[in-house]
């Protein structure tokens, strides 16, 4: 009787081991696919420099504004949320001879703010930028009064895609 019990145990154990072996014999196999996406925040001015020449006026009025919205575009791509684009100039607005304003027009991928007078402190130019590609026309308007006389201002305008 003892032999029978022992044998039965051996059978059960063998059955379990071999069954486990069958399971491990593997009718499945796998591998891993890994994708790593880094933060992407790219911004680029397309087009050349802008020259605004104020040289006309209606008699009795200040000189006519000069506008350029075709020379330069601003493009951006970001895969992060909560971004904005700021604008600044290397010239303090109060120190400039004339008035320059910039505005993002025909915009996609963000929300344009009101026309900005760029100065040495960065100001919001486009808001609501998040995981998107975007583009806009850069519309510059140069204004002068008769009292401001003649001369020129050479602004270096910098746009920055940054966190809100």
């Amino acid at each position: 009787m003892k032999v029978l019990k022992t044998s039965f145990c051996v059978i059960v154990l063998l059955f379990l081991f071999v069954s486990a072996g069958i399971i491990l014999a593997s009718n499945t196999d796998n591998h891993t696919v890994t994708v790593t996406v880094t933060a992407i925040n790219e911004l680029e001015i397309i087009g050349g420099n802008i020259t605004l020449t104020i040289n006309t006026a209606t008699a009795g009025s200040n000189p006519d504004d000069q506008t350029d919205s075709t020379t330069a575009d601003l493009n951006w791509t970001t895969n992060e949320a909560s971004k904005k684009i700021t604008i600044l100039s290397n010239i303090l607005a109060a120190s400039a001879n004339f008035t320059l304003t910039a505005e993002a027009t025909s915009i996609s991928g963000g929300t344009a703010t009101a026309p900005q007078t760029p100065t040495t402190t960065a100001a919001d130019f486009i808001t609501g930028v998040a995981t998107t590609i975007g583009t806009c026309d850069l519309t510059y308007v140069g204004s002068a009064t008769a009292a401001e006389g003649t001369g020129s201002d050479a602004h270096t305008i910098t746009y920055t895609l940054t966190a809100v």
Binding site: V3, L4, S7, F8, V10, I11, L14, F15, V18, S19, G21, I22, A25, S26, N27, T28, D29, N30, H31, T32, V33, T34, V35, T36, V37, T38, A39, I40, N41, E42, L43, E44, I46, D73, N75, W76, T77, T78, N79, E80, A81, T131, T132, I133, G134, T135
Partner: protein, 170 residues
């Protein structure tokens, strides 16, 4: 003593019968192995933009055809014609639902049997779906994977999923 011997003989016979049955089952299970390792897509960064700022990321990435291989074996003792089906699915660890991961077979491999189907990209989902069928043993069946629908709408992160192939006797 004689009774014990008789019992031992009976047990031995029982063991033999069980092992034979198990052996028969073991042979009836087709097996599958993969080689070539994992597929780690080179890091996607700003150099993957289609045309710089203002453009989206390149949407589609593929690994080298045949870099990952499947070896399938039909049950040698199984019931002819020893055919099997290979299913595929994925189990996500961290994955973006926008991604479209697909696989196709770029060759037949070699061996006594044959394989059929699976030669066009098939999107891998979270549930098993038939990839291709075969019969008898085939080795080094080349695969190619494709990741599509990549865009800047996908947040920066490291994503991974496990692709599982299952061979089923049919």
């Amino acid at each position: 003593m004689k009774k014990n011997m008789k019992t031992m003989l009976r047990c031995s016979a029982l063991i033999a019968v069980c092992l034979a049955a198990l052996s028969q089952n073991a042979c009836a299970v087709p097996t599958i192995t993969m080689s070539g390792g994992d597929w780690t897509i080179p890091t996607i960064d700003s150099t993957d933009l289609q045309a710089g700022a203002g453009s989206d990321l390149v949407a589609t990435y593929e690994n080298t055809a045949g870099a990952i291989l499947i070896n399938s074996a039909s049950p040698s003792g199984g019931t002819p014609p020893n055919t099997y089906r290979i299913d595929v699915k994925k189990v996500d660890t961290t994955w973006d639902a926008t991604f479209e991961l697909s696989v196709k077979r770029t060759g037949d491999g070699s061996g006594a049997g044959s394989v059929s189907g699976g030669t066009t990209y098939q999107q891998i989902t979270d549930t098993d779906a038939q990839f291709f069928t075969g019969d008898l043993d085939r080795i080094i069946i080349p695969l190619q994977f494709q990741l599509a629908a990549v865009s800047v709408s996908i947040s920066p992160d490291s994503y991974s999923t496990t692709v599982t192939f299952t061979i089923i006797d049919i």
